[in-house]
């Protein structure tokens, strides 16, 4: 794996001066993943925070080839780019290896772009799709998405006098991608650069479709002080609210926290969950803890027992 020193010498794929919010995790996702590529990259982005904030004409923050088409079609758009590349390669017009990386937020990936993503994965294009997942439609002002966790306050499922925010549990997109039987699926966080770099390097070393679901705290939508972005991502990992793991050719490898913290330690610093801590909502908090535990247990059961464990 590339050392931090080595990564620091690589050319920044995304220049500073873009217009993302202070404390935004999305540019960290982009940098940590793209810097892990030794080969040139070509980027497609779905409509969303990342796209609108980095490409306000006549400026572009991208130092690598970049294409934005629409909201729900990053997977399909990149399929076309990759198909053209394969064609040119076949005809000997290009020989340079290129890593194709598509970025989409959770809205553009879990919801409106799910079909396009699924198709791209099923067809086996050699591309890496990265979901920078901030668990709501942040670009349009914090609306609920299929990635929003239960109990979160959003502008389309707000906490009110008779409602406690999102009623449903979030869908498990990472497992949906695992079910596509693609060679590599990873779920990760920002806030652990070595893990994310290693996962991205692995993705780039594999030919075929790869999917990475990266939790990206959003200070605006989640409501916390801008310097807590990485801390919150780590808390999501440490409480198992957002398990960090990878599935390579169907084999699960899970990163386990040294000590599994109670989920309230992750929920409490965030404004979007503030209403859950009002008297009367104890049962809902317990419910959330139970669901986190259930999903964590379910995930652990998927990991094959280590050899020599005496089974």
């Amino acid at each position: 794996m590339a050392s931090l020193k080595e990564l620091a010498t690589r050319k920044d794929p995304l220049t500073g001066g873009h217009r993302m919010c202070p404390g935004c995790g999305a540019p960290i996702v982009v940098r940590q993943i793209l810097l892990a590529s030794k080969d040139p990259v070509v980027v497609v982005s779905a409509t969303g925070c990342l796209e609108v904030s980095t490409t306000i004409f006549p400026y572009s923050a991208w130092n690598v080839p970049f294409l934005h088409n629409a909201f729900e079609n990053a997977g399909a758009t990149m399929s076309g780019v990759e198909a053209a590349y394969q064609n040119f390669k076949k005809k000997g017009k290009i020989d340079q290896h290129i890593n194709f990386v598509a970025f989409g937020g959770d809205g553009g990936t879990y919801d409106i772009g799910l079909q396009s993503l699924s198709g791209a994965m099923e067809r086996g294009h050699d591309l890496t799709y990265v979901c920078y997942n901030n668990e709501a439609y942040m670009n349009t002002g914090v609306q609920r998405s299929g990635a929003t966790p239960r109990g979160a306050n959003t502008t389309t499922e707000p906490a009110g006098k008779v409602s406690q925010g999102k009623v449903q549990w979030r869908k498990d997109l990472t497992e949906i991608m695992v079910a596509h039987n693609i060679p590599y699926v990873a779920q990760g966080i920002i806030g652990n650069w070595s893990d994310l770099t290693r996962k991205a390097e692995k993705a780039f070393s594999i030919r075929g479709p790869k999917f990475m679901n990266i939790l990206q705290p959003c200070r605006l939508g989640w409501g916390y002080r801008p310097d807590a972005t990485l801390e919150l991502a780590r808390l999501a990992f440490e409480t198992c609210a957002w398990p960090v793991y990878e599935v390579e050719n169907g084999v699960y490898k899970i990163s386990k926290p040294k000590e599994k913290k109670p989920v309230i330690e992750y929920l409490k610093p965030q404004d979007r969950f503030r209403h859950l801590f009002k008297p009367g909502n104890e049962a809902l908090l317990a419910d959330i803890q139970a669901e986190v535990d259930r999903r964590w247990g379910q995930l652990l059961a998927k990991e094959a027992p280590r050899q020599g464990s005496g089974q």
């Binding site: 572009s60 130092n63 294409l67 934005h68 399929s79 780019v81 198909a83 079909q115």
Partner: protein, 390 residues
């Protein structure tokens, strides 16, 4: 040397696609256009083309993949119809604004609802404002010839706009027709080698950003060049048609006048109906009635001045629309022509007939009734529905 063969419209279009040999095709099945990509997929499977065929999971993804592929500088084609075209609508203007010369085989079919699989022009007409050139075909031969010309037109630096060539669902797409096929080598020569794109998304040494956010300060300026290119494309369409005529003998224009020069009454139509109309006009002429037709080949760009000039000396004209835009003032072709004639000093009296929706038959007696009505045009309502039960 060309050869005469029997081909359906879909087969003719697939044949042209084989000869064009595009770099990438992304498509999704839909009746009645499915066959085009089915035949083409077999060409890919048999190694008769070098194309990378992306069998996507929807038409939305088909057009999205076409945009991605075309942004690399590749020559890209697709095919669709009706609901499929509707699903592409969101991406069609993006392809135009990004100036990507994607070429589409579009088989005209009614749009839902109710669901219907047969011919009318409602799918293509609703796509008229998205910056795509639109070329209609009377028969398989025209579809084949226009598809080959479309590559040249779309990729011309003065145009750089996506282009759709249409046939009429089932009437052309599935009916066997006698057509002349040009030799592969000649098509290759006519197209002139690979697409020459000014920049490519795959040029990692010279990275470009494509599809940026354009706000109040630039969006307007970036919409204007599409309008300019659309205007310029008229000249290019005619130049390419002239070169095509020189090489292969078949002449095309923006429109075709059929016995129009001295006509007193005429219809305006596009697509397969024009073939039926020619028979009726010949009959009427034999009876001494000065009937004629203006067949629109190119609907986008709209040849407004040319049509106004061509219709100047006709007394009464019936515009036939195979779609209804539900605006309460006739069909799309009618409103375009009415607008084109507004400034004209000499202009015919106009009538509009909306006909043939959902594949409803348009036959000779119906067309004869239109010409009969034109003889007393002043007594007719402005917009009528032809061949519909009350």
């Amino acid at each position: 040397m060309s050869k005469v063969v029997a081909r359906t419209g879909n087969e003719a279009m697939a044949e042209a696609m084989r000869q064009i040999n595009p770099d990438v095709v992304a498509a999704y099945p839909i009746t009645p256009a499915t066959e085009i990509v089915m035949i083409f997929a077999k060409y890919v499977a048999d190694g008769l083309v070098d194309t990378n065929f992306v069998a996507v999971e929807s038409e939305h993804s088909a057009m999205s993949a076409c945009v991605g592929a075309s942004a690399t500088g590749a020559r890209v084609m697709t095919g669709t119809s009706s609901q499929g075209l509707c699903l592409m609508y969101e991406i069609l203007p993006i392809a135009a604004a990004l100036r990507l010369p994607i070429v589409m085989c579009d088989v005209n079919r009614a749009i839902s609802g109710p669901i219907n699989i047969h011919c009318d022009h409602s799918d293509t007409m609703a796509a008229r404002d998205f910056g795509w050139l639109q070329i209609f075909s009377e028969d398989s031969q025209e579809a084949y010839d226009s598809l080959i010309q479309a590559i040249r037109i779309a990729e011309d630096p003065r145009v750089h706009l996506p282009t759709m060539v249409t046939t009429d669902g089932f009437i052309i797409s599935h009916c066997l027709d006698r057509i002349e096929i040009v030799e592969d080598k000649e098509v290759k020569e006519f197209i002139g080698g690979d697409r020459k794109a000014a920049n490519s998304l795959l040029d990692v040494k010279k990275p470009v950003s494509v599809g940026l956010l354009d706000l109040q300060d630039y969006y307007f300026e970036h919409r204007l060049p599409v309008a300019e290119a659309m205007k310029n494309s008229k000249k290019v369409i005619l130049e390419v048609a002239e070169e095509f005529a020189k090489k292969f003998g078949r002449k095309y224009g923006l429109y075709e006048g059929y016995k129009l020069d001295d006509a007193e009454i005429a219809i305006v139509a596009l697509g397969s109906t024009c073939g039926t109309a020619k028979v009726v006009i010949d009959e009427l002429r034999a009876k001494g009635i000065k009937a004629g037709m203006l067949k629109i080949r190119v609907f986008r760009p709209f040849p407004a001045e040319e049509i106004a000039q061509a219709l100047a000396n006709v007394k009464a004209v019936a515009v036939l629309d195979r779609s209804d835009m539900w605006a309460g003032q006739g069909g799309q072709v009618f409103t375009e022509i009415r607008s084109a004639l507004f400034e004209a000093v000499k202009k015919p009296q106009l009538l509009n007939y909306i006909y043939g929706l959902g594949g409803r038959e348009i036959d000779q007696p119906m067309l004869r009734s239109v010409f009969t009505a034109l003889q007393s045009a002043e007594k007719q309502p402005l917009v009528q529905y032809l061949g519909v039960r009350e």
